[in-house]
């Protein structure tokens, strides 16, 4: 059986400036699976999402590779319909149109994706709002986004995503703009909905804690490339790429016995128009050898479902 989502050799560029924002990445996602995409700001996580959702901003285009979405779970007779993809965003309040009511937002999505209108659409919108944990749904349909908190607006965005009955939900930094308690509620809601609907979830975050909580597998991105993919447990316990290990070392802990401050990664992310030759991470890496500057390392198998693009992977 094929994957729900298969990304092969994806290249995304800003052609006007010749920059490669994403440089040949491979990703796959099965039905009902949660994949975490982690990395620093500017590594191409969000662009990967936009490319998969088919909504790259103007001036940026996919120039290579393929993105295949296929849902043949029930036999795949003939040509199966393209499974629907929905997306939620980092800053929920500014991702909602300020002049449209919550009701208008949800009902127009329900019309577009399910053909519901009038009373049917309103009832379904109310049901969705209640499902994502917004009470007094009937009166809330008349509200505008500026009257809601960030957490409530993210719930509205999730309800809107559900209106598309997605087989794949892309969540681009869904909790970054929210405070910690709200963050936990939204993550819990996403996990619950994934289990309930059987959709797959692609969750992007720079926060490994968020990824650790939800994801079955994770991919670590650096400078437009995926440097390591692994089941989440293996990644957290036995990171093989020095960058992945460094990211994990950056995570603060709340263990009172662990008095070590988090270790920052030396240096800063290189600019896309001035990437180091060979492995892009080598100037910031403490394991570098001569081979690191010669050519970009191919992914090497570390364990089951675990691969890293490094000539000198960390071995346990």
């Amino acid at each position: 059986m094929s994957h729900l989502l298969a990304v092969r050799g994806l290249v995304v560029q800003a052609p006007a400036r010749g920059l490669k924002i994403i440089d040949g990445i491979d990703l796959s996602l099965d039905r009902g699976e949660t994949l975490g995409l982690v990395g620093e700001s500017g590594c191409g996580k969000s662009m990967t999402c936009y490319a998969i959702a088919g909504a790259l901003p103007r001036g940026i285009a996919r120039t290579g590779g393929s993105i295949t979405l296929q849902d043949d779970a029930d036999g795949g007779t003939g040509s199966p319909a393209k499974p629907s993809v929905a997306m939620i965003f980092q800053d929920p309040t500014s991702s909602l149109n300020p002049v449209h009511t919550i009701g208008h937002y949800l009902e127009s999505a329900l019309y577009r994706h399910q053909g519901l209108r009038g009373n049917d659409a309103r009832l379904e919108a109310m049901r969705l709002l209640e499902r994502v944990g917004i009470d007094r749904a009937k009166s809330r349909l008349r509200a505008y986004p500026h009257q809601f908190s960030g957490g409530m607006n993210q719930r509205v965005m999730i309800a809107h995503a559900l209106a598309a009955k997605p087989r794949l939900l892309i969540a681009d930094e869904p909790t970054t703009a929210l405070d910690v308690t709200t963050q936990a509620q939204i993550l819990y809601l996403l996990e619950e909905l994934r289990a309930e609907t059987g959709m797959a979830l692609l969750i992007v975050s720079h926060d490994l804690g968020v990824i650790a909580r939800l994801a079955d597998r994770a991919a670590v991105m650096y400078c437009g490339k995926i440097v390591e993919t692994a089941p989440i447990g293996a990644l957290l316990e036995r990171p093989a790429h020095p960058y992945a290990r460094a990211l994990i070392d950056c995570m603060p802990t709340i263990d009172p016995d662990d008095l070590e401050p988090p270790t920052p990664i030396a240096g800063s992310v290189p600019l896309l128009d001035n990437l180091p030759a060979g492995c892009h991470f080598h100037p910031r890496c403490d394991r570098g050898g001569r081979d690191c500057v010669s050519a970009y390392p191919a992914p090497a198998r570390i364990g089951p479902g675990h691969a890293a693009s490094c000539y000198h992977p960390v071995r346990p």
């Binding site: 909504a55 965003f89 991702s95 500026h146 009257q147």
Partner: protein, 310 residues
């Protein structure tokens, strides 16, 4: 919403009152109307008689209170020049001014807004550059110069349109064109930049990610947001039309409020000047009031405030 409109109406009345007071005092401090009205060779007796006739020999405070008392009874005085009621004088000029400014304003919107939308949507293409080049030209040439240039081109050289007067509808074409060129230039530039700003907002990216067709994104998602600042700008535009009428009516000898105002100021006809400024202010105040109401109607943040609606 009702309280909002009431508060704005009260504020408008205060503005009108303040304008009357300010204009009254400033006009009386800036030169002698008797000397301006009569000629340089008028005898001192004639000047004194003129001042007594119009009450100009009393103190400014006295004149002001008398003016206010009469104004509240709807009497704004008579013209020094021909003794007619000032609002009779103004009343025959207002329709003339409106017959130029109203079509000019409508055409400004009809041309400026679509041109701005086109430039924003086809950003960085030939269409955008053509619209913006036209806008720069229209925006940088002053009204009076443009008026004279149009007279030269269409009346003197091509001989297809009349250059001055107001007897036929053809006479209105050049004055309207002058006002529209400048107005549409401003509005198209502003529409373009506002729409480009709105199209860069995260909710537009979210709408695109949701697969909504581009046409619908522009019409239903971007334009309602761009309309909010645009309404303010259109208010300025409408006010600018009235201001521009002062120049344009003078250039084209169009007998409206603007040219009448210039004539009244030159001849020192204080009562007419005062009443005309009051009329201009009343127009401005009603434009602002309309803008405020439209702004609230278009912007839920103003209409509803920040509290949860439920």
């Amino acid at each position: 919403m009702f309280g909002f409109v009431l508060a704005r109406l009260l504020r408008s009345l205060i503005v009108l009152f303040a304008t009357v007071t300010f204009v009254f005092i400033v006009l009386r401090l800036s030169g002698d109307p008797a000397q301006q009205m009569l000629s340089d060779i008028a005898t001192p007796e004639a000047l004194a008689a003129f001042r007594t006739q119009w009450g100009l020999d009393r103190s400014i405070a006295e004149q002001y209170l008398l003016y206010l008392a009469n104004a509240f009874q709807g009497n704004f005085g008579t013209s020094f020049a021909d003794g007619r009621e000032v609002f009779t004088v103004i009343g025959e000029r207002v329709p003339k001014t409106l017959s130029v400014t109203v079509p000019a304003f409508l055409l400004t919107m009809l041309i400026g807004i679509p041109a701005g939308i086109l430039a924003a949507v086809r950003r960085e293409t030939a269409a955008d550059k053509a619209v913006m080049a036209g806008a720069v030209v229209g925006y940088s040439i002053p009204n009076f110069l443009l008026g004279v240039a149009l007279i030269y081109l269409f009346a003197v050289w091509l001989r297809v349109l009349p250059s001055s007067g107001s007897s036929t509808w053809q006479h209105a074409i050049l004055p309207v064109a002058t006002l529209v060129l400048a107005g549409a230039a401003t509005i198209s530039r502003f529409t373009r930049s506002t729409l480009i700003d709105v199209l860069g907002q995260p909710y537009i990216a979210a709408a695109r990610a949701d697969g909504i067709p581009e046409r619908e994104i522009i019409l239903r998602h971007a334009l309602p947001n761009a309309a909010i600042p645009l309404v303010t700008m259109l208010g300025f535009g409408a006010g600018g039309m009235l201001g521009g009428a002062v120049f344009v009516e003078t250039v084209f000898a169009w007998p409206g409020l603007g040219s009448g105002f210039v004539r009244a100021v030159n001849s020192g006809d204080l009562n007419v000047v005062q009443a005309m400024i009051l009329t201009f202010t009343a127009f401005m105040v009603s434009i602002n009031l309309t803008v405020d109401i439209l702004y609230a109607a278009l912007n839920p943040k103003i209409r509803l405030g920040n509290h949860d609606a439920s």
